[in-house]
């Protein structure tokens, strides 16, 4: 494979950029694979990459209904963090942070991982205590966390509202300095390019119509481009999980919801941290292009429409101005909607299923993007070894039955309350 570097860029420039290789090919599906991954999003592509790289399984197909990277990996707010309270979430995400830190080099694709730090603002002593509980848990798990007081927050983000005319004054915040952002599309493309190079077939415009299951075992998948046999199939289709589950006669602890995000027009650098509001649900960061990238609450009803309504954004941006009043004079340039797998405790599922050879990766709620490498890595392990790894042992499907829940927010099953 052509290696990307400054020198390759110069070399290709001198040949008028006519000799660049395909980043990935466009193969016709074979009749059978060792493993089929359904879903060409970040998690599916990462899974295929780690199957090949860590487990030497390269006879793999990724089948994607539309174009790769078109799901939530292409429509998120690019935040990467491991600031979780529960051990299962924290240790899993921190494992992922390590993968993020070396991703550009591992993939030979600049995913622009930018560990600029995230600050969760607190607006009361009670909230400071809640954050302390989380931050201490992180520290005891070996994850970096700092509790900032009001003055310290002011020094770092003076544009937040420290005025008298504020409804919820800032008391302080919990910061994870190593958290950050990355260029979301690049993550999908980088994984795709390497997976393709190791022999994985990336098959786009290929929709799953049904499954071939007999005697409790999976045998293959029926697609719009023909039947494909495989003894192992991994489902990686956050946003469409319920649809595929129905084809498998499964009902899952997941609801499908709509989440909007928006960006402002690009402006010169003004904010170099990811910041979240504590008296509501709003988060913001500034992209390398200069756009303020903002998000918040779900639209609040089951939806598969990648289109939301303005009152939700109004609500989100109201909290934005409450946190950083200067946003008022910026203009909202672009909005979009993504479809979330909202699990019933807010944490994901990476597990085997009652069908032999069928593996499940879903329920990522708002947090799928940051989990891309760790999810791919553990899912690949689960598929290759036919057993869950310690890192994803907390993400079992039957935790809802046993009560070993991972509810970071304590909101329970009403996923639409965010």
């Amino acid at each position: 494979m052509q290696k990307y570097s400054f020198f390759s860029l110069v070399k290709n420039a001198l040949s008028n950029h006519e000799n660049w290789d395909l980043a990935w090919k466009d193969p016709t599906p074979k009749k059978e694979y060792e493993v089929v991954i359904i879903g060409g999003g970040g998690h599916g592509l990462a899974t295929a990459y780690y199957l090949a790289k860590e487990h030497n399984i390269t006879n793999v197909a990724i089948i994607e209904k539309g174009w790769i990277g078109g799901g939530n990996v292409g429509r998120n707010t690019t935040i990467i963090r491991s600031n979780y309270m529960h051990d299962d979430n924290g240790l899993f995400s921190e494992f992922g942070m390590d993968l993020w830190r070396r991703m550009s080099q591992d993939l030979n694709y600049n995913v622009m991982f930018s560990p600029r730090g995230i600050i969760n603002l607190a607006h009361s002593d009670a909230q400071m205590n809640t954050y302390a509980r989380r931050g201490n848990s992180m520290r005891l798990n070996g994850i970096d966390a700092v509790l900032l007081n009001r003055e310290e927050v002011k020094e770092i983000i003076p544009m937040a509202d420290f005025s008298e005319n504020v409804r919820f004054p800032i008391y302080g915040g919990l910061m994870q300095p190593s958290a950050g952002t990355a260029r979301h599309d690049a993550v999908a493309w980088g994984y795709a390019r390497q997976a393709d190079d190791m022999g994985v077939d990336i098959i786009q415009n290929c929709e799953v119509i049904g499954f071939d299951v007999s005697a409790g075992k999976i045998n293959g998948v029926r697609t719009s481009r023909g039947d494909i046999k495989a003894k192992k199939i991994g489902l990686c289709v956050a946003g469409s999980t319920n649809i595929l589950a129905e084809k498998l006669n499964m009902t899952l602890p997941i609801e499908t919801h709509l989440l909007q995000a928006c960006v402002s027009e690009p402006v010169k650098p003004v904010l170099d941290k990811v910041v979240t509001f504590g008296a509501g649900h709003f988060y913001i960061s500034q992209s390398d292009k200069g756009e303020m990238v903002m998000g918040g609450d779900l639209d609040g009803y089951n939806s598969y429409a990648q289109r939301g309504n303005l009152p939700t954004l109004q609500h989100v941006l109201t909290e934005g101005i409450a946190m950083m009043p200067f946003l008022s004079k910026l203009k909202m340039l672009r909005t979009w909607g993504g479809i979330m797998d909202m699990s019933m405790d807010g944490s994901p599922i990476i597990d085997k299923t009652h069908i032999e050879g069928l593996y499940l990766n879903c329920g990522w709620c708002y947090g799928g993007f940051k989990a891309t490498p760790a999810s791919g890595w553990t899912f690949a392990h689960t598929i290759a070894q036919d057993r869950v790894h310690e890192l994803n042992s907390g993400y079992s499907l039957n935790r809802f039955n046993t009560g070993h829940l991972l509810d970071e927010k304590g909101l329970g099953t009403k996923t639409w309350i965010s």
Binding site: N242, I243, E246, T251, L252, P253, I254, E255, T256, G300, Y301, N302, S303, Y304, A305, N309, L310, P311, M344, F400, N401, T413, K414, W416
Partner: protein, 90 residues
């Protein structure tokens, strides 16, 4: 913003309502033995399909009645609304 016909009050904007999820889930009878699976199906498991979806809304800033709404989860089109005591015909 959705425009929902409250069977008691008429057409009202969505911001008067709060959402209540799948309307076809039936709470098991009190005091009745029930399997783990059935209980999980009630508490956690949801079909949440693309297309027509019967769901609950409460007219929280209006008559405070819970209502049943048939809505398309792909287009958001609303087909029908029912009072709490009216049965859904699937």
């Amino acid at each position: 913003m959705l425009y929902i016909k409250c069977p008691h009050c008429g057409m009202r904007s969505q911001n008067e309502f709060s959402y209540g999820g799948d309307a076809t889930i039936k709470r098991p009878e009190l005091g009745k033995e029930i399997s783990d699976q059935d209980w999980d199906n009630f508490v956690y498991n949801r079909k949440s399909l693309r297309g027509k979806h019967w769901e609950l809304w409460q007219h929280i800033s209006g008559c405070r009645q819970w209502i049943k709404v048939e809505r398309d989860t792909a287009t958001h089109e609303i087909f029908k609304t029912l009072k709490a005591n009216e049965e859904i015909s699937l």
